[in-house]
Amino acid sequence: MAILEVKEVSLLVNSTGILNGLTMEFWEGYVHAVVGPNGAGKSTLANVIMGLPDYRHHSGDILFEGKSIKHLNVDERARLGITLGWQEPARFEGLKVSQFILASARDKNKDEVDRVLELVGLEPVRYRNRAVDKTLSGGERKRIELASILAMKPRLVMLDEPDSGVDIEAIERIFEAIAHLKKEGTTVLLITHSPRVLEKADHAFLICSGMLVDKGETGKILEYFSGKCLPCPHKNVPDLNSGAKAGGTNA
């Protein structure tokens, strides 16, 4: 059953089509991946689903559990259980890790902070009183953001490039956290151009120039993506007019 449906979604930015009539279904409890080259529209799709302010002027519709969420703000979508982990998580000067996690936690107690920090492989005693600021490495902030998502217990989580800027140990912990989310019944949407992240998905979509090129089992998309899409002639040049040709070329 689809928990999220993207229906004919198009988004123009400065007269350029970033998303061009995307239609996709994300099944509940699955780990989905959206892959494609740089500039394909992957992060834009996540931002549109999250309802970020600069991404609300799209056409088409987005349904969550069968109901349109197009009119809802970011926080309203989040309260339905939709959330997003950024490729480059924000820094919060002065805000403690425990405050940051508790802000999103369903269970607002110290034990919950410790639980989710342990799930992402960070020692609570070392991290709970640190600030979510520049004193943390990119990998640490990424894991703390994931901890806050785990505390939120979302229905659908989108993780934008979950392996970017993190070391080998950290990425393993992030993969474990993704597995934990799946085990808890959360639908996961991985935004990536990394084959090793794609391998963690049950199902994948390949997009290019804001258009759906293919979808299916992860192995099929992985083979297609690594064999035919790289190098992609449309990298960083999403263009509405060349969209059809892009699909044709890659196919």
Partner: protein, 308 residues
């Protein structure tokens, strides 16, 4: 009456249950010294004036006072002027930390004026944390002025906090002269609301080799409040280092102005500054809203972090 006044002052700063009267302290209401306690090596000599108190605070050479010394400056009447004239001397190798609590629980029209002369001796350490407790009426005018001299290797830190209640008008003017190997850190955290007026001028002169200074100002203003920050570091000596950091969040019709001045007069000195003024960072806001916080809750949390 003094005991009742002490209780009222302590209650207004939430210390009435936990305050240890055996710990080193001074409690002042308007121009009356209500209570004081010293420990070996600490000298407190207060003198009542018609409109305030003059006090000499001395920490003798080599004395290391482990407990913080509480200074409670209260003004229980509704109106009036309270002048606090402080002469502070921390002798060589001594260490002390002061926790100052300034409270005006019944204020209708109050002026709290402080002038401090502070000398910190060779390799001595002095820290001063000042927390203000104001009402929600915005009827207090606070004007603290401090002149600080640091001897070789001295360490000085001061922090001013005014987060609860209305600021009213505040006009801070602190200056520190730093000799070789000494360090100064001055920090202010203030939340202005309605028509509060905040003015801060902190400066440091790095006169000795290897001296250091950091000036940090974190301000939030909302409604019609204004803030003007003029922080300055002048580096005159080799290997002196300085940094000016000013962050201000504005909301509503709040206005913030920051003028960081850095002046370097020696080729082996180095001073940096950063200033960020504006609305709440959109990525921070979106992150918290994507976890289910409303915009108002997210803004409050971001400001709480900045001012912590």
């Amino acid at each position: 009456m003094p005991d009742q006044a002490v209780e009222e002052i302590l209650e207004s700063i939430n210390l009435h249950r936990s305050f240890d009267r055996g710990a080193p302290h001074v409690v002042i209401n308007a121009n009356k010294v209500l209570s004081s306690q010293v420990v070996p090596g600490l000298v407190i000599e207060p003198e009542e004036l018609p409109d305030g108190v003059r006090a000499r605070l001395l920490v003798r050479q080599g004395t290391k006072i482990k407990q913080p010394v509480h200074l409670c400056f209260g003004m229980l009447p509704e109106t009036g002027i309270q002048k606090i004239l402080l002469e502070v001397e921390i002798e060589d190798e001594a260490e002390v930390s002061f926790m100052a609590h300034c409270t005006f629980p019944n204020a209708v029209d109050i002026q709290h004026l402080m002038e401090a002369e502070i000398r910190v001796g060779r390799n001595a350490r002095y820290s001063y944390f000042e927390r203000h407790w104001h009402s929600d009426q915005g009827v207090v005018r606070v004007v603290p002025v401090a002149r600080v001299k640091l001897a070789e290797g001295a360490r000085f830190s001061t922090e001013f906090e005014l987060l609860k209640g209305r600021v009213g008008i505040i006009d801070i003017d602190y200056h520190t002269d730093c000799q070789a190997g000494s360090s100064a850190e001055m920090k202010a955290r203030i939340f202005g609301r309605q028509d509060d007026r905040i003015k801060i001028k902190e400066s440091a002169s790095l006169d000795g080799q290897g001296s250091r200074a950091v000036l940090i100002t974190h301000i939030a203003v909302r409604d019609e409040a204004t803030a003007e920050i003029n922080n300055e570091i002048i580096a005159r000596a080799p290997y002196s280092r300085g940094h000016v950091d000013c962050k201000e969040i504005i909301q509503g019709n709040g206005v913030a102005r920051a003028v960081p001045i850095v002046e370097v007069r020696h080729p082996k000195a180095h001073v940096t500054h950063e200033a960020a003024i504006g609305s709440v960072d959109s990525k921070q806001l979106q992150t918290l809203m994507a976890r289910g916080l409303s915009e108002e809750q997210a803004v409050d949390l971001i400001i709480e972090g900045l001012l912590s």
